[in-house]
């Protein structure tokens, strides 16, 4: 069985907050009529310029913090 990482209280909230902040910061720049795109790199394919919050969130994969 895989060992579990146990975190309680603020130590548990902080990594989650980091991830949430990361997505939100990436997406914030795409907002509005003058929003800019986010460049997403892919394996064996040309990178993508995305301006859609869902598409950006879907492409984001973070290792265990």
């Amino acid at each position: 069985m895989n060992a579990k990482v146990v975190r309680v209280g603020e130590a548990a909230r902080q990594p989650a907050m980091r991830g949430i902040d990361l997505v939100a910061d990436l997406v914030a720049g795409t907002m509005g009529p003058a929003g800019r795109a986010v460049l997403v790199g892919r394996n064996h394919a040309p990178p993508l310029l995305l301006r859609n919050g869902y598409a950006i969130a879907r492409n984001l994969e973070l290792g265990f913090a």
Partner: protein
Amino acid sequence: MRDLAWRTSDAVGDGTSTAILAARAFVRAGRLAALSGIAPSELQAAIDAHSTAVLEALEAASCPAPEAAVLERVATQALGGDAALGALLAEAHLQAGSDGMVVIEEGRARRTPCASTPGCISTRAGSRRISSTMRAPGRSRSRTR
């Protein structure tokens, strides 16, 4: 966050970035409240009360689907300032109606045709009532419900 964005995209089709930013603000405030010793059950009741108030305010501020001229301006803005395409998109939306579905497809032709198909089309995602299809040259595929 991904699930939230997916649900927003599925239910509304737009506003995913706004939803993500709102969620971040929500989590920040909730964390602050939890840190300052507010009981989670109290917090839940407060969140429910406030979200009801916000929904009521939004409901009061909303207006019915605008007339053609306003729709055309919105469409032009959404297409990045292309007035001709904006007029076509507004027309497509008017043909489809507020419950219809407008699909923009990438095309290789020189002009941009607009076709409307009344009736029910069964797709995997469900059924569309009236659909209005537009083929724009060199435009990426996107869907508007």
